[in-house]
Symmetry: C3
Subunit: 326 residues, 3 copies
């Protein structure tokens, strides 16, 4: 993957945001710092800073995702940018226009940034290689490949609860094979230097050669959760499971669902995470999702702050430039 | 209905806006006063006040209604709020997420207000009981139950034409049974102390025990309209009429359509109202809809002012705080 | 056509923008001047001027066109107006409301301008005759009739490349019969006084009596392109071609596709234009679309500036009024 070469400019600053693979520890910490300064914007009376006033950001969604679209739309609006929502599948391309022509047209309209969601792995990378130099790309999820803002907001959430990453044992549970979130999390956790990354899943949902990523594989939930500081649950995405030899939802929950009883295997101060939307009773029990260890809704709040941070950094703006006048 | 207990905070101020039932006369008059100050905003060169700048309002429409969506969107924009449009039926819930989880996610994104439209009676109330304390709900129509902003804008329109409510005879004509508008209007008219509320409809379109609401029932249009000051026509909603033993549209118009001739039964200065969209030639003749007694388009204008008023009051802002700088 | 009488007020200023037919040379040049001042807004750091702050513009799209909708949405946002997007086909009219009632409702909400796209020729004119005096209409394409902002942005693009219009030979190539763009271009080119307007198409795609518009008709591409300064390609719109006796796409390209070889017939400094979206390999070869003579993407950029100019002129605002404070 050449993502990291593309996403940094020659000074090592973010030009695009495509993947967590190869992203340096210092850059991730820089995103954290920016996000900290935005985290309180959502709690202020006026939830808006004028940092990106007069910028045009386009949500280019080639596969629909209302939830993800909204988080980027809100981040853009709270930075005072203008935002266009384009559902590409139902738009110009239906008139037979090529993707490349659609992109160049949006460039010519002086858009500054495309937030790209696509069902094909590598789509955001490809688009980043096609666009004019003044355009930046944020990958909002591409196939099974990456979902970097989700991974960074997860790291940001861990950081707010745990002093440091160095001593953490982290378990990722569920459909690793099909999960762009898992892939992006594993890269980020590695870079941040956690003590141990465990993945817990049935054999059919684990990618080949996954040990090369520096993770430990568990098929037994109780063993995998033993002594962990962080549990990152994955959504069981029925729509991506075609062909996987998967037992019933009920049986899946019996073997890999996170219950209160299983949670006891982990450290007493374990935090439970999930990228949403959650399937209650499939991968996670309701009382765990809503319980004291859950930080799931904090992840959502942090998602806005982290997306604001990435947008502002790419545009070369620092939060300290901001004030409430616009 | 416990709507009124939910919608007021302990100081008696609007926290949500769910129903006109139980709303005090003084609170309704307070909305009128706020709306008066917004009514001229639409006629100014700069149709915008910065009252809700930096607030986030989400239109949560579980049933589609472009017209209603637009009135709330415009009200929010003219108050300088950021607004998100979510068509929930085609969104996250299709991934199996529960309503409650969708709501909590939007809360975690630091939304301030949900404008809720739903085909189920009681949906807005239910949502108001589910959300976090920092979220306010406006009911934009729930099933057959209530449409309180419509009722208040109707009252506001009456008030602009008639000196006071005390001496008014008001007739509501049409499908009372299925109308959330009628229900909300009856409660508001009662509270404002009009002399007489008449409902005029065929027996099949009148709810049981309607007399308990303090209304007089008429099946004959000419009798019901005799001497009234205000006529509030209802839309004949074919989509809600399944099973009602209704004559043909033509026959309905013959018996309950508002014509110029029938209008002569009312007071000479009668005003004719309709919540729209109107069915010309079904419940109202075109020359009446467009005639000198019609205030139908004024209702639309007042709808923006009243929605701005309710939004601002819920957020604890008074129009006098506003100025044209933003 | 009485378009021009409707679109000018009694002082000769733009009230609506419906057609290029009958538009005076001085008015077109006035649009050019306004557009020049907006052309650099898209290249500024803050791509926004406060000229139309507090105005409400509604995109009324009776036929879908994401590309055109976006250009008007961006123009409105960069002028700081509030914009509503209404897809009318799926909205109020489905409840049986008449077009006229929909329009009057939007008027009552104090909208200032409707951008109208409709599949029926004359729709924008008709709407302009129906609306209240405070509403202005911009025609964003009506059936086979007109697409005036496209034509003016094309003229603006020609003007930026050629010193003057007087000595220009211009060829319009393709489906003249079904093209609102061609019709609007021919009127504008005539008014601006070009030396020669040629249309190049198979007989079946040429309107009857087209010579009355002052154009020369060519069926042979090489002859038609000989010595021209400007080539305006049209999109082959399959969706409008029902019944036209057209050869296959391949054969069409053989006879009327613009290739590098054919381009040699034109002047050495010829510019190649296309309103987009382009059909590569149908009406234009890829290497021509992307080649040194192509100004196709400049047209897109100019489209924003010209639409900002028309919106601002209709609202009676001059760019010099603008500054970056809002």
């Amino acid at each position: 993957m050449t993502g990291n070469k593309i996403q940094l400019d020659k000074n090592g600053n973010l030009k695009h945001f495509l993947t967590t693979e190869g992203l340096s520890k210092s850059l991730i910490h820089s995103i954290f710092e920016h996000a900290e300064s935005f985290a309180n914007v959502g709690e202020r009376s006026v939830k808006k800073v004028p940092l990106l006033r007069g910028k045009t950001i386009a949500n280019l969604f080639f596969e629909p995702s209302t939830r993800t679209r909204i988080t980027f739309e809100l981040a853009a609006k709270r930075l005072s940018a203008d935002i266009l929502n384009l559902n590409i599948s139902t738009s110009a391309t239906s008139k037979g226009e090529s993707l490349s022509d659609t992109l160049h047209n949006l460039e010519a309209m002086h858009c500054d940034m495309f937030v790209v969601r696509h069902s094909n792995s590598g789509a955001a990378h490809y688009i980043a290689t096609q666009v004019a130099p003044h355009i930046s790309i944020i990958n909002a999820g591409d196939g099974r490949h990456a979902h970097p803002t989700q991974a960074i907001l997860d790291m940001f959430t861990i950081r707010r609860h745990k002093k440091s990453f160095e001593n953490l044992r982290v378990a990722i549970v569920g459909d690793i094979l099909n999960s762009r979130v898992a892939r992006s999390e594993i890269h980020a956790l590695s870079t941040l230097g956690v003590l141990e990354i465990r993945i817990i899943a049935p054999q059919t949902l684990i990618p080949k050669d996954v040990e090369k990523l520096g993770v430990q594989v568990f098929h037994n939930m109780d063993e995998g959760l033993s002594g962990v500081d962080v549990i990152m649950m994955l959504r069981l995405q029925n729509e991506r499971m075609r062909g996987a030899l998967l037992p019933s939802k009920h049986e899946y929950f019996q073997r890999y669902g996170l219950t209160k009883k299983r949670l006891e295997k982990a450290k007493p101060d374990v935090i439970v995470m999930h990228p949403g939307p959650i399937n209650r009773g499939v991968e996670i029990a309701s009382d765990v999702a809503d319980g004291e260890h859950s930080v799931i809704l904090q992840q959502v709040s942090h998602g806005i702050a982290v997306r604001m941070a990435v947008m502002a950094m790419i545009m070369g703006r620092r939060p300290k430039d901001s004030n409430e006048d616009s």
